[in-house]
Amino acid sequence: MRRLQALLLGIVAIILLLTGGAWFLNQSDGAKGSKIINMYNWGDYIDPKLITKFEKQTGYKINYETFDSNEAMLTKIKQGGTSYDLAVPSDYMIQKMKKAHLLKPLDQSKLPNLKYISKDFLDQPFDRHNRYSVPYFWGTLGVVYNDKYYQASDVNSWNKLWNPKFKGQIMFVDGAREFMGIGLASLGYSLNSKNDAQLNQAYNKLKSLTFNAKAIVSDEIKMYMENEESKVAVTYSGEASEMLSENSHLHYVVPNGGTNLWFDNIVIPKTSKNTKGAYAFINFMLDPKNAAQNAEYIGYATPNKKALAYLPKSITNDRQFYPSQKQMAQMEVYEDLGQKYIEKYNDLYLELKMYRR
């Protein structure tokens, strides 16, 4: 009995300690003051010179923190320890955050520079009428190849990935939407298909693609392509631009027949305390000159139409990262499929991963 009492007492003590600790951390974490903007962004995803410039121009101080996955960011914002004023989630995550009521609606009258964003990139399915988000960068899903072994015509359509000469050679980015998407796109179906017959058809077709898979990995693709461990990989244009700058033999192709179009977007989380500063910063980043400078530094494609004029022709004419209108028309943004189909995609994907020999 006494032992039980001691046990209970101990548990109560621990609870008190942890609560106290959490309270203390919440108090101290994150900078405060009306002149400070807490920004939560991907690592190395903004030209640091722009931050300095903004601070000099406006007198605000930017407190820049980084995350490495949308899920990690979501958790941190949900938990609400730091009152972030700005965050940069990807498209599907915005839908999720919207549902969880973690975002502040944007007052577009406070964002005059929004007019510079190309109409093609506004009013996307993940955030209709851009009520919560402003596009920051965009890109595609495509194929990186090494010109020592292959050429663009080997990989310029999804169906060519089934070519037996790629046996055990292709690296795929680890994601159910991406892998199933290759099957769906190669059959001419929507990447957001909720049609069981189409999904099964894609599944059956993808079975034989697994023979060509060398590995299904995530961030490591960058390393393997750069050091030529792998010759071909299906990956995102953002990752690809980093690989291309490391190894001049690498090239990126957006296969014909439709692919995923992705966005990273600036949002203002509910927790924001310096909303005025946040608007000032978004406007600053939407300014064509600043957007161009940022795009040149990061190497991703900017949605800012006016900014294209400030970028060198060699960048804006690069069909690898600024695909043609015709190709753009075929691209699709991932929509939230709902629990049932998220599971369906992942179940099929898991079976494909297991399928072999």
């Binding site: 006494r2 621990i14 030529e228 297991m354």
Partner: protein, 268 residues
């Protein structure tokens, strides 16, 4: 005196409740919930009805079995050899040393070693053997898994063998048993406890490997760990993930039961 004993036990009990009992209860509870949070048995039905999860379970058990078997075959002679050495503490330290390094770091090291331009392929090139694919294969995965698990098999067997009374071996030889008989009838049965705890220490963690299946296996080797990760992080179906977790926990208890059944008859 007794009072103090209770006091000293408090940290242990807190630990037990917070990190063993509570999580197991949570996993068990979650396994009966669907993604909306309603009570359901559907997770278990899905698990046992779909060939996919049973196949995955079989894969996991099969890989874990192979890893355990080969590490045992390598470890037993090694441990036996170690007991005969002069500076055995030093040798033992060298075996323990790699366990101080984080598993992920070791896995990354193997990526470098196994790569097409890695040291093994460099070595093979020397003999004119064309570059071989080691990464993302079953063999590569097994080798790394065994490398990581080896110390956990060697140490218990070593301890078992070291406790062995040398006079028993001499007695066995005196009574006319040859070396092989001495080994099978005396040495091995007496070191069985060590072998059993070694098997436990290797088999159970091997069941749920998942970082290695990704880094070295390139997701071409799929075990239950991969499925659990997927359900918790991607589909957010914690119920299904927990169901697989419960199956793993049950599998662990089975292994524990199998490897400790004869303990009662032993010492004391």
């Amino acid at each position: 005196m007794k009072k103090y004993n209770t006091l000293f036990a408090i940290p242990y009990f807190i630990w037990l409740v917070l990190f063993v009992i509570a999580p197991v209860i949570l996993i068990f509870g979650y396994s009966f919930l669907d993604s909306q949070g309603h009570f359901t048995l559907a997770n278990y039905a899905t698990y046992f009805a779909s060939g996919k999860y049973l196949m995955m379970t079989f894969n996991s058990v099969w890989y874990a079995f192979l890893i355990t078997l080969v590490t045992l075959i390598v470890s037993y002679p090694t441990a036996y050899f170690l007991t005969k050495l002069k500076h055995r503490d030093l040798w033992l330290l060298l075996i323990i040393l790699p366990t101080w390094i984080n598993m992920l770091l070791k896995a990354y090291a193997f990526i470098g070693i196994f790569g097409l331009h890695g040291s093994i392929n460099h070595f093979l090139q020397f003999f004119g053997l064309a570059p071989h694919q080691f990464l993302f294969t079953d063999v590569g995965f097994m080798v790394v898994a065994m490398y990581i698990q080896l110390p956990f098999m060697i140490i218990p067997i070593f301890n078992g063998l070291e406790e062995l009374d040398n006079s028993l071996i001499r007695a066995s030889r005196d009574l006319g048993a040859n070396a092989w008989q001495t080994f099978t009838k005396v040495i091995f049965p007496l070191s069985l406890e060590g072998v059993k705890s070694g098997v436990q220490a290797v088999f159970i963690p091997s069941l749920s490997f998942f970082m290695i299946t990704r880094l070295i296996g390139g997701n071409r080797v799929i075990t239950l760990g991969t499925a659990i990760e997927e359900h918790f992080l991607v589909t957010q179906n914690w119920g299904m993930g927990s169901t697989i977790g419960v199956v793993l926990i049950i599998a662990m208890f089975i292994v524990m039961a199998l490897t400790s059944e004869r303990k009662k008859g032993g010492k004391r």
